[in-house]
Each structure stands twice: as structure tokens, then as C-alpha cells.
């Protein structure tokens, strides 16, 4: 059995930032991550981040990842890799499996920073070899430095699809088509412009209806859609490729939150079913959710949420006074609201408020004995 003040599940941007924030006030945290490397998606995000200076804007994700790991070591947090948290049980007990055996971790506070998983699509031939998620392609090229293919069709024009397309070209592949069901590009224009300048055709209002090949994907049948997203098969055409990538959103990884009996709600703008949390990211008395599990946004926001959960955990553990903690929280909230502004961010800001509102309403009903 391991006893700890703070257990953080997930060693991505949110989890590491939480360990650092809490560690600064003397909280010795344990971070567990099922992957062989820490950093979550940061080390494959070789593009420069947006935001302002305090969000490390203009710095590439992999560099931010390195900086976080140095800080984690400085505050003395323990990072356990290849370690899976397989369940949450009563009294803050988390079951982990590490090095071939299971172990109980008893933690005073738990921060869930489990992230999100990529959505897939299903169409004829969508299980052929060569069809993969954009994140998988990004891991191939930026972590393992292996090209998954040479002629890529990207499905989805959110920032993940646009950025991954650019990076596939940087790695030496050709992006032969970017296909988007909606009538507009979903992500930032500046990212789409990188592709346009490289001559990549972006098919708006189109979907892939079929992937075909013999032993691997050799091409896709693409068709325009009407406003109800129904394809017009009479106008379909074929593009040859050896790779098809899905960049069609992410779903929060909420299993552990569900096991901790958090109430959930569905918010499409934040990726799907989410645990309700209060304005300090608490989903229960001693348990927090930070980063994509609390709503899919991006790494800069995830880091700020991790800091928020880490600071509140330090306050709860008596390592930081209410007054000092509140000052810190205010600064984090200011930075968060900057990241959630503008035509792209505002939707997320409103959605996050909705989660807090639903949490407060639920709490009110519980206090009134209604639930």
C-alpha cells in the first residue's frame, strides 16, 4: 500500500502542471501514467503554441513538455510510468498496476487528469490498414519519426486535422486531400492557410464514404453532402492514397470519474459526457478533474486547469492559506479567461460555466434532501 497526500492520474500537461503547482507549496505528489513516457500529447505537438507569454505562447509543445518535466523533478514529485490506475474505490483508494503487480494507493486528494481519446469514423473499409486517427499519425512522425504513409487524406479541419496535415508534410508526406463535412474550416484560418499555401486541396462540404484497397487502403471515395450531411453519390469521386486520418474530435476519458460517482452531463462543445465540477474543478469532496477530462480544450488550458486543481489541493491539505491561495486562483482564472476568449474560445467559456451551474444546482438539490 502506498500512502500519499496527492495522487495525480495522468502525466500529460494538466497532470504535470498540477504536480508542479501543488509541489511548490510542499505537497509531495505521485503522478501515475499508463504510458512509457510522460508529457501526454505534448511531445508530439511540435508546433508553436498560441496564447500569451505566461502561457508559453510561441514555444513548441515538445519544448514545453521538457520544461514541465524539469519543474516536476525540482518540486520532487514522483512520476510512475507504465502504471495504470484501474479503478477508484471507497475512501480515496485507487488501484494501480505497475511492474506486473497491483497496489493500493491511499490518497488524501486525487486529481484526475486522464485526458481524452480520439473519435473514430465508420464507413465501408474504415478498418483497412492505413486508416488511423490523426493522433496516431502524429505519434508516428513526431515521436517515432516514422512516416505512416506517403499520400494522406485527412478527415476533419479542426486544429488537430490542420496541424497534423502540416506536420505530415514537414515529415515528408503528401497530403492529397483534407475533407470536411461542414461548410467551413473548423480550426484557425492561419493553420488552414499553411495548407492552402502548400497547395493542399480542402474539400468543404464533403465526406469520405468509402475506403478501398486490397491488403491496405489504396484510395477513398469522396462525395459532397447536402445541409443534412447526406452524400450525393452521383457526384462522388476517387482520390488515391495510402493513409487516411481521422481528426474528428475527442471524447473525455471519464471512466474513473464515473467510478468515483461523479454526476455527468453532456456538452457537445466540450467533447461529450463530462463529470460535473465546481468552480475549483472539484467533482467530489477530495477529488478533482483537470484538463481534457473536464472538457476537451487544448494544452495551454489543460496546464492552467492542472495548476488550479494543484493549488486548491494544496489549500485543502493545509499547505497554503486561504488568502494566498485565493490570490493564486484569481491569477489562474484570469489566464484561463484569456484562453477562452474570442470567437473560438467563448463557446468553451460558456460551456464551462454551464458545468459549474449544473454542479451547483445538483448540490442545492442534495442539500435540500431532494437527491
Amino acid at each position: 500500500m502506498i500512502n500519499t497526500e496527492l495522487l495525480i492520474i495522468g502525466g500529460g500537461p494538466a497532470g504535470l502542471a498540477a504536480a508542479i503547482a501543488a509541489g511548490k507549496y510542499g505537497v509531495k505528489a505521485i503522478v501515475v501514467d499508463e504510458n512509457p513516457l510522460p508529457g501526454g500529447q505534448l511531445f508530439k505537438q511540435i508546433h508553436k503554441f498560441f496564447g500569451s507569454k505566461e502561457h508559453k505562447a510561441g514555444t513548441r509543445g515538445n519544448i514545453i513538455g521538457q520544461q514541465l518535466l524539469i519543474e516536476v523533478e525540482k518540486v520532487g514529485a514522483q512520476v510512475m510510468l507504465n502504471t495504470r490506475a484501474f479503478g477508484i474505490f471507497d475512501d480515496n483508494i485507487v488501484g494501480i498496476v505497475s511492474g506486473g503487480k497491483s497496489e493500493k494507493v491511499v490518497a488524501k486528494k486525487i486529481i484526475l487528469a486522464t485526458g481524452a481519446s480520439e473519435n473514430a469514423l465508420a464507413f465501408k473499409g474504415s478498418t483497412l490498414p492505413g486508416v488511423m486517427t490523426a493522433g496516431a499519425a502524429q505519434t508516428f512522425i513526431n515521436v517515432h519519426r516514422v512516416l505512416p504513409g506517403r499520400r494522406v487524406i485527412m478527415i476533419g479541419t479542426g486544429n488537430v486535422g490542420l496541424i497534423t496535415s502540416y506536420q505530415l508534410m514537414q515529415a515528408g508526406a503528401e497530403v492529397v486531400a483534407v475533407v470536411e463535412a461542414a461548410p467551413n474550416v473548423g480550426g484557425y484560418d492561419v493553420h488552414a492557410n499553411k495548407l492552402r499555401r502548400a497547395g493542399v486541396p480542402i474539400y468543404l462540404g464533403h465526406i469520405v464514404i468509402e475506403a478501398f484497397g486490397d491488403s491496405e487502403v489504396c484510395g477513398a471515395v469522396i462525395a459532397p453532402v447536402d445541409e443534412k450531411f447526406q452524400p450525393d453519390l452521383t457526384r462522388s469521386f476517387t482520390i488515391e492514397c495510402d493513409t487516411i486520418c481521422f481528426a474528428v474530435g475527442l471524447t473525455p476519458r471519464i471512466e474513473l470519474a464515473q467510478m468515483a460517482e461523479a454526476s455527468t452531463t453532456f456538452i457537445g462543445a466540450l467533447g461529450g459526457h463530462l463529470p460535473l465540477h465546481d468552480n475549483r474543478l472539484k467533482i467530489g469532496k477530495n477529488i478533482f478533474a483537470a484538463g481534457d477530462i473536464a472538457g476537451v480544450e487544448e494544452a495551454s488550458t489543460a496546464m492552467e486547469e492542472g495548476r488550479l486543481a494543484g493549488v486548491v489541493a494544496a489549500m485543502d491539505l493545509g499547505k497554503l492559506s486561504e488568502d494566498d491561495g485565493n490570490v493564486e486562483i484569481e491569477l489562474i482564472n484570469e489566464r484561463l479567461s484569456k484562453l477562452r476568449s474570442g470567437q473560438f474560445g467563448l463557446k468553451r467559456a460558456v460551456a464551462k460555466l454551464e458545468i459549474i451551474k449544473q454542479y451547483d444546482e445538483l448540490l442545492g438539490r442534495i442539500n435540500n434532501g431532494e437527491e
Binding site: 479503478g87 474504415s126 483497412l128 492561419v190 499555401r197 474513473l256 473560438f344
Partner: protein, 240 residues
């Protein structure tokens, strides 16, 4: 018009939360302000054409141009592909849609931030294209052959749950019999009970239920979760 020196040209049109151009400029020539979704405003007088903002912009949305008044102008363009063009090379300039504008001669390369690989390529261009030249056509290493399809396989009924190999038709069958949740489909077909514990298929199944029954994904209850999350062996579980 400013002549004979490089001036930044900012092609940043959306209110995205970002201000490295402002904070990186050593001359205070770019203003965004407190609200970082404001579009950058350039002070032409203060801009010294150093190129630091060009390399700092995460959107690759800044280039530079030098108007000479002669037939040849100069542009400076951020480039993030390998191989880099070399001084003396002829490159093809493109507009914002990737349309070829014509050739230019590489005069100089510079990396304003030595720790970062983004490289500025300085090119002399015909003055008729100065305003539109915002990109350099990427050199493609080799032409990629199309794979010849020998026996084209059409998979008509795709597998939705890959771990348990449950096909779309089996899920639709379940919906016809009254299943309206991912949980119900799981109990009927074993979908989501394999190695990945539904990480790939649960969302797809919810989508199929929505399509076939009209009950949106948000209205469907999320499937219940019990330990273990992910697959662990019984040996691992039993050894403490």
C-alpha cells in the same frame, strides 16, 4: 510608403487568443493590448524589419517585404520544411491559396531565434508579385507512386467494435429490437468488452443509435464503467 527597408506584413484575420508577435518585438512596433484576441496593429515607423515576430508567430501569418521602387522587390518568408532552399537557388513564390506567382532568387537565410528551426528565406522577386507573395512552394522530395489495386476489396458492413469484431449490421439489428443505449448494445453483442474497453466503438455506437433511432448522443445515458479501466491480467491483479 516605406521604401528600401523590410517591413512586417501581418496576415492575421481572426480573433484568436495569441500575442507572441507583440511580446517578441524588441521595438514595440506591434500592438495587441490586454485582450489577446485583438488583431495585431503594426506601427510602420517603429518596425525595423528584424524578422523576430515572423519567426515567433505560431500561425506563420507574418511575412516581410521591401519595396525598392525598381523592378525587383524583396520578400522574406518563414519556411518550415526540409530541405531548406540555399542562397542562389531559384524558388517558386505562391499566394495565399498556393497559386504559383513566378520565380524568385534566394538572397539570404536567417533564423532570428537560434533555438528554433523556423527559417526566414529572403527572396528577390518581380515587383508585380510583391504584394501577393506570402509563401514559397515546398520542394517535394520525390513523386509518390499511387499503389496499384490488384484485388479491390469492398467492405460493405464495417466492423464497429474492433476488439470483439462486431459489425454495423449487428448493432443496427439490436437497435431494431429496441436497444437505445450503448450499454444495451454491449449486453447484446459484447461490443466494448474487449481490449480497449469501448474507447473506439462506444462513441461510434452512440452515433449509430442516434442515426437509426433519432435519440441524440447527448440524450443517451453514458455506458456505466466498472474497474478495471483498460485491460490488466488476472496475475497482475492478484499479485500485491
Amino acid at each position: 510608403m516605406v521604401k528600401n527597408r523590410y517591413i512586417a506584413r501581418i496576415n492575421c484575420l481572426q480573433p484568436i487568443p495569441c500575442n507572441p508577435c507583440e511580446t517578441s518585438c524588441p521595438f514595440g512596433a506591434i500592438y495587441i493590448g490586454e485582450d489577446i484576441t485583438n488583431r495585431p496593429i503594426l506601427d510602420l515607423e517603429k518596425c525595423k524589419g528584424c524578422g523576430i515576430c515572423v519567426a515567433a508567430c505560431p500561425g506563420i501569418a507574418i511575412t516581410m517585404a521591401m519595396i525598392t521602387g525598381d523592378a525587383k522587390d524583396f520578400v522574406s518568408i518563414p519556411y518550415e520544411y526540409l530541405p531548406l532552399p540555399l542562397v542562389g537557388d531559384t524558388v517558386v513564390l505562391v499566394d495565399t491559396n498556393g497559386v504559383d506567382l513566378g520565380e524568385g532568387l534566394v538572397e539570404k537565410l536567417n533564423r532570428p531565434n537560434k533555438k528554433d528551426p523556423t527559417t526566414l528565406v529572403y527572396v528577390s522577386v518581380d515587383n508585380t508579385i510583391t504584394d501577393r507573395a506570402v509563401g514559397i512552394k515546398r520542394k517535394v522530395a520525390s513523386i509518390v507512386d499511387v499503389i496499384e489495386v490488384v484485388n479491390r476489396i469492398e467492405i460493405v458492413d464495417p466492423i464497429i467494435c474492433r476488439c470483439e469484431e462486431i459489425r454495423e449490421s449487428e448493432i443496427i439489428e439490436g437497435i431494431k429490437k429496441g436497444d437505445r443505449t450503448v450499454e444495451a448494445i454491449k449486453r447484446r453483442t459484447r461490443s466494448g468488452m474487449g481490449l480497449c474497453q469501448g474507447k473506439t466503438c462506444n462513441r461510434l455506437i452512440a452515433g449509430i443509435i442516434a442515426r437509426e433511432s433519432g435519440i441524440s448522443v447527448g440524450e443517451q445515458a453514458p455506458s456505466s464503467k466498472r474497474p478495471p479501466v483498460g485491460v490488466i491480467s488476472i496475475r497482475e491483479m492478484s499479485e500485491e
